[in-house]
Point group: C2
Chain length 407, copies 2
Amino acid sequence: MRAPKSFRLHIGIFGKRNAGKSSILNALTHQDVSIVSEVAGTTTDPVEKPMELLPLGPVLFIDTAGIDDVGALGEKRIAKTLAVFDRTDLGVIVSNYNDWGNYEQKLMEELKDRAIPFVIVFNKIDIFEENILINEQLNANKIKFVQTSVLKETGLLDLRQLLLTSAPADYINRPSILADLVGAGEAAILVVPIDKEAPKGRLILPQVQSIRDLLDNDSFCMVVKERELREALSRFNKPPKLVITDSQAFLKVAADTPPQIPLTSFSILFARYQGDLSELVRGAMTIDHLKSGDKVLIAEACSHHPIGEDIGTVKIPRWLTQYVGGKLQIDSTRGHDFPPNLAEYKLIIHCGACMWNRREMLSRIMKARQAGVPITNYGLTIAYSLGIFERALQPFPAALEVYKNSN
Amino acid sequence: MRAPKSFRLHIGIFGKRNAGKSSILNALTHQDVSIVSEVAGTTTDPVEKPMELLPLGPVLFIDTAGIDDVGALGEKRIAKTLAVFDRTDLGVIVSNYNDWGNYEQKLMEELKDRAIPFVIVFNKIDIFEENILINEQLNANKIKFVQTSVLKETGLLDLRQLLLTSAPADYINRPSILADLVGAGEAAILVVPIDKEAPKGRLILPQVQSIRDLLDNDSFCMVVKERELREALSRFNKPPKLVITDSQAFLKVAADTPPQIPLTSFSILFARYQGDLSELVRGAMTIDHLKSGDKVLIAEACSHHPIGEDIGTVKIPRWLTQYVGGKLQIDSTRGHDFPPNLAEYKLIIHCGACMWNRREMLSRIMKARQAGVPITNYGLTIAYSLGIFERALQPFPAALEVYKNSN
């Protein structure tokens, strides 16, 4: 499913001719397999590249190279560049330490005046040496920058991380949990088992958020325990659009939900909402490659009284050990600190991070990627252990493909 | 509807012969109109009196007078008294400052050993003067006591208050919000309007508590906005047992809900769950008697960021003033402090106290009663202003009767 253009984060790439704008963009797109298409522009128009940029999601790069390359002069060039500013959500100024000067200062001023967040890329770091004075000046003004070399393939992951950190919150936070799955005037069923861990008189946050999200989208929902699901389903004279269940009740719910009704789990829904579903599914699939003696990191977002405490410290370690059939070295981490030695791990299993914003979770996914370590979350690990991926990923074609390709 | 005996708070009344046990009990029952019946016992059996004791609700008084009056001696008398201890949830030791001695100490020890909460009544305070030493000793041991005179009718409201304070939490807190209204395997519809005040991504506490309560009782529910209610109702092939709506959407919801489906509001449900529905309905009915210049107290439980802030400070004062057709003196109070000068007010309007335990709200209802001031809450005031009592009280016969008798 292609995201409408208006939902994409528009990233404007600015800089002098030959600063390396296009090579930076090509390097980023080259890393990602999921380029949608390249919009052909006239040579004097900026080049637009819609793509799925990990970990940001759907973005539209606007490369002002097109303006530059024809050598258009004065007025015309300025007008075209201004038009790009007009639709830029996040600016990237590409330069190098040798060429940094007035032109870049003016770009910064323009972006500041328009309150557009931006980052600076010092490219060709393999050729042009770092300039400490420039760094200090930028740091003093709290302007973020990275150093890259397309040739040496360095700094590109840092650039992705910086784009994530700098993107406006509206683009990072998904606008809806369920809007694309349950339409206005349509019904979903939420299956909410009540176990001893559920605090008295409450529902857990993802359940409340899902109910609220459905109401916000003019949808409605039946809330029911797994034991009464069959009865609840029998009350409908028209099937609901989607059944969402807690993972722990998946097998019973799958048995009681007719196959023509789409079924997924809160874990999968929130892996998408709070993280990157495809990446986390990819991570879960690597459980099959774990061997006795491997190190696994279990990361809990909450530092106090986490709801998932015994899931992270007891249930998942126990199941993993059984599944691998040997002893694993399992480390735990809590709160906002993430260990620096990620590369030592064969897998990172994260909690659902329901109390965090999405940016922080995406940032961790990014760090795992930088360290070359697969990452998944509690819910997906449990879902995988129950063998429910095939059915539960049906509503999410991209993630389903990841699953099928890994099999 | 008569509460099963097992749900009643069993209050054992202990004390020497002629301490005034029966006269205390008669005075309490005399104040209340709702004595259910008097269980005739043999003369040597304790007398049991089931009643609706305001503000506690259904209680069973066990008067050990029956044991005493026949002058049974030794073993037999002790055995009968022990049997009463066995089923006492809350003990009342009736004595007076003149007769207080070893027998009462032994009763206290027995109750303490059994971890049964108890209170002491120094009766006949009009005859026997207060003994400061006894008071000090009891205070030092954190034992609660009241002074009463049945003859002068003093201290009886204090005794009720003390019974409320001392009763075990299990009896004060209602076990369920909806169990008697929506059976196991049955459906309710919860109508949840989403207005600007609703915090993003959340539902308000009474809505979450209602969903959870239905799940706890093996029921299930449809959650829907008022705009989609008609569509949601059309999906059912069997009507739901109950529709519960936010009061502000009541008129639209009433129009869209077929008359044969019971309909009430969260306000009314929670006036019952967190307080005393009949008492609060009685309070709401006195709005009709308010006159220009009368003092009204608006009490908000939360001291910070209350959800109902503009309801209490803006909406209700505005509506009341319009309704009365003249200026009212409206005072506001917040948090756990309740003004001592309650008697000055013609009416107290309280928030729903959703963040409090029920004991605290019942205690305030008690205080209002002691001061002779009617009390109601925000939700009922709004419900009354919308003229919805007749339909919304249908599921609650006792409260409906209060409404009809006041009309």
